[in-house]
Amino acid sequence: MELTRRELLATFLGAPAALAAGCSPPVQSLPLEGAIVGASAAIGHRLRDGVRPTPAADRWQNVGVVIVGGGIAGLATAWRLRRAGFQDFVVLELEPRAGGTSRGDSLGGIPCPWGAHYVPAPLKENGALVALLDEMGVLEGRDGEGEPVVAEQFLCRDPQERLFFAGEWHEGLYPHEGESEADRRDWTAFQAEISKWVAWRDAHGRRAFTIPVASCSDDADVTALDRISMADWLAGKNLTSSRLRWLADYSCRDDFGLTVEQTSAWAGLFYFASRVRTPWAEPQSLITWPEGNGRIVDHLSEPLGGVLRSGWAVSELVPKAGDEPGVDVVAVSHDGSDALGFHTRQAVFCAPHYLASHLIRGFGEVRGNAAREFQYGSWMVANLLLRDRPRESGFPLAWDNVLYESPSLGYVSATHQQGIDRGPAVFTYYYPVCDDDPRAGRARLAGLSWNECAEIVLSDLSRAHPDIRGLVTRLDVMHWGHAMIRPRPGFVWSAARLGETQPFGPIRFANTDLSGVALFEEAFYHGVRAAEDILRERGIAFDTLL
């Protein structure tokens, strides 16, 4: 695909950026270093195309539990099993490093994220996450109401957010500058709607929106929201302010990789209402680390040692019926040259759920097309190493730096949480691909060369930082093909989503996909839930964290 610079920018950043680019030949090679660094699609595609290696007879072993996938759900499963004293398990992870989309990294000595990069401070009801954060030393106690108190250094440092709007940076995400009376009215009405949902309880005393999704009310008034889009919901409430719509759209793209038209109103309201303790209160503070949720990944994976087998792609799970039920799990080495086999009693499938019908023998025949309902959006994430801070005007550099007129989500400054305010910096740039057809978006993204990715990132950021090209010394790009489950209307409360949580014989499922939204907390919850199910089945005593 040979695009001119203008065509490229028109496709990915919209007409204004393309016009600004002017007439120019195909994308020039840029005078800086960088690469596309993953994720490992090659081995995955080989497996998709039906390659099924068989391990040699002496390459089989017995293990109590096989955990398929070393993302947050898999690591949480392992964490919960170990906490209960159960260690007879193995975690198989396709990538060379565990963590999935929560992975962190370091560029030029500066720690930075590759995906998920914060966790809202949990409410006390989220026992498992509170236990994890306690263990990590993130909490320094409980307040008078028993709510966890997060140590100051782990809370996102102020200033948290700023918005590049009308040629200048402004504090906060909502553009108050120059808003009309009607904008203000809509803004207040929207806050009132959110507060209404924060206060709402069903007959069982459950909240409409809370984390994990499994604790949310399934009352018809709430689930009805899943049948319309967030855009329809705004229109139905007669909220027509373009600024409010922008904020809703940004929020949907940020949390779900979908536009406001594509997102279920249930998911959209979940974003705004699930992290607020009481009506009209501020949302829960954010916990963050310089390397994003990579810090949690490290905490969860370090004690695992050799039990965590990274670089091994699971190619097949074969459930066995009969007197001794169990599963045979086959894994292929990263380069496809070697294969390992595991006889196990129980397996936890923590990989993205769409893979279940590809990898589990007999799954599709029994479950039908339910797994096909699981659709995924793709993302481009770039880490930019800068020699020095770029020139800019208006409100100073914040943690999250958003561009009003861009289809990207802007960037997060990796040195912000470390308190390094000068000199070299790493900016992590996020771009969700929001095509209606997720496969088309995936193909569009996969077709981009490194040069083209870098051109998109730099052109986008140049609008706010005219001198950024001269400051970037390295730019690495991550293509996340299946980054996030898409909570489009009808999916979250579909029979397909609800049914897929059920075990398939000896195989349990644990992934954020099963919640219908891609959140660290959901992945963690499902991992802990699956692990506790296993402990229960094995008759191991434990105090539930759920």
Partner: protein, 506 residues
């Protein structure tokens, strides 16, 4: 030509004359702002300008052809140079040694161009007017223009528009007159006029863009205005250091904010250092955070028990200045070269996170919390990190901005220290260069403060004695406690208090 264009031409003369004088006044004003001594600067600027007018007038004889075109060209050149003169000079100030060269260069060039204008115009008009009539009218309008400029400049332009905008606006006016001339004098011009007009429009567009950005330009520029002549400037990676001097006293500014005046800094530093060191018993290891000027260290070294002082300042150029710049080195008594002193260049917060040592006393002397990067050095997190590096008997003093001007900011620091687990005694001293200034004495354990300043130490002090020392802790009613929030990394309340309070005061 008819009568009407002639009248318009006189208007032209008026505008040209007004603009010329405005540029001269701007240059004189800027020179006195930046270099001080307004009498000298104004007479030099006027002298150079007037002589340049003469040079221009003399040069006009060499223009023999295309008079009208030359006149318009000169006018556009004046517009461009004069219009950009104030911003140009402000930025030239960034390189102090070049400032006089740029200043007088600009003044001379504008003078020459303006000097060319009138003779050219008179020669253009001489075909159409009786000579005596011409001279009387042109010169009359010229002097009326001068009067207009000298009245408008102090009464309206500087108070309303400021230096940068005045300069740009008059440049635009000048260029408009030039552009207008291409129509007015069209019958007298030969050749195509499009190129000339386009240039005129370009000059106007450029200056108009400058007006649009004038707020930013002024913001940058105002920082660079000082009450006394500047004798040293350096822009480091972290800040802009400026030293000014007058009557044997010198002043240090960081990013335009006064850090000390050698006339009364002893009051500030005695009040900053001694309450903490006296309260710490016999402090052997002392930590100084900020304070790269070495003046706090000078006071610390007056305590004979002190064995080691660790100074942490982010800016190597600042401590370098304190070690090597003779007036400052003399003022701090070469304190930074003392063998007991070790210097670390680091961000104090990041350094504290990794520091393994313990200290008996600490002096915290950061610039006021007017940015988020400084605000983090006043948070509970910062104070907890500091507390973890102190021995149980240790005492700390912290400079806390003015309790009179920024009362909430002051009490916010007090409450933040308390919230981090310190026992805090707020206090204040009067430092004429700053006004009423606030500090905190913070200790890890409660207990009575020492009642007296030891006699031996008093012999080395100029400000503190037993009475003034005790009086420091009396907080007057107009600076007494107000309810405030705690400053944390995740809310940075203090920066917001500070910004609001100083804005209100100014």
């Amino acid at each position: 030509m008819t009568r009407a264009p002639l009248f318009l031409l006189y208007l032209n003369v008026l505008v040209v004359a007004t603009c010329g004088l405005i540029y001269e006044l701007l240059a004189g004003t800027l020179a006195s702002y930046v270099l001080g001594d307004s009498v000298t600067q104004f007479s030099l600027v006027i002298g150079v300008y007037l002589s340049a007018l003469g040079v221009g007038a003399w040069l006009s004889r060499f223009v023999t052809r295309h008079l009208v075109r030359a006149f318009v060209e000169v006018e556009l050149a004046v517009a461009l140079l004069g219009g950009t003169s104030a911003p140009l000079l402000f930025f030239a100030f960034g390189r102090l040694s070049w400032f006089p060269v740029v200043l007088f260069g600009v003044v001379f060039a504008i003078g020459v161009l303006v000097g060319l204008e009138l003779p050219l115009l008179m020669r253009i008009l001489k075909e159409h007017l009786d000579f005596s009539d011409l001279v009387s009218r042109v010169l009359a309008f010229d002097y009326i223009g001068a009067l207009l400029a000298s009245l408008m400049f102090p009464l309206f332009l500087i108070p309303r528009l400021g230096l940068v905008r005045t300069s740009l606006v008059f440049g635009i006016l000048n260029a408009l007159v030039g552009l207008w001339g291409t129509w007015l004098l069209k019958p007298l011009m030969d050749g195509r006029l499009t190129g000339l007009r386009l240039r005129g429009i370009a000059v106007i567009a450029l200056l108009a863009a400058g007006v649009a950005a004038a707020d930013r330009l002024t913001e940058l520029a105002e920082e660079q205005l000082f009450p006394h002549p500047v004798v040293f400037t350096r822009t480091t990676s972290y800040q802009r250091i400026v030293v000014t001097e007058s009557a044997g006293k010198f002043q240090l500014f960081l990013n335009g904010n006064l850090q000390f005046n050698s006339a009364d800094e002893y009051r500030y530093h005695e009040a900053l250092v001694h309450p903490a060191l006296l309260s710490a018993g016999t402090p052997r290891r002392v930590l100084v955070l900020g304070g790269g000027d070495g003046l706090a260290v000078r006071e610390i070294l007056k305590h004979s028990a002190v064995e080691a002082v660790t100074l942490v300042d982010i800016d190597p150029e600042m401590t370098g200045l304190a070690e090597k710049y003779p007036p400052l080195r003399k003022l701090n008594g070469a304190a930074l070269q003392d063998r007991r002193v070790s210097i670390v260049h680091a961000d104090a917060m990041i350094w504290l996170e990794h520091c393994p040592e313990l200290f008996d006393a600490a002096i915290v002397d950061f610039p006021d919390p007017n940015t988020y990067s400084l605000g983090k050095l006043y948070t509970t997190r910062f104070y907890r990190l500091l507390k973890a590096r102190l021995t149980p008997e240790a005492a700390v003093s912290i400079q806390c901005t003015s309790p009179l001007v920024a009362r909430s900011s002051f009490w916010c620091i007090v409450r933040t220290l308390e919230s981090a687990g310190f026992v805090v005694d707020p206090y204040q001293a009067t430092v004429p260069s700053f006004g009423v200034w606030g500090y905190c004495l913070a200790r890890t354990t409660a207990g009575a403060r020492p009642a007296e300043v030891p006699a031996e130490l008093q012999t080395h002090l100029r400000f503190l004695n037993n009475r003034t020392y005790q009086g420091l802790f009396d907080i007057p009613e107009d600076a007494s406690a107000v309810p405030v929030e705690i400053n944390r990394l995740d809310n940075q309340t203090l920066v917001r208090y500070y910004e609001a309070e100083w804005k209100h005061w100014n």
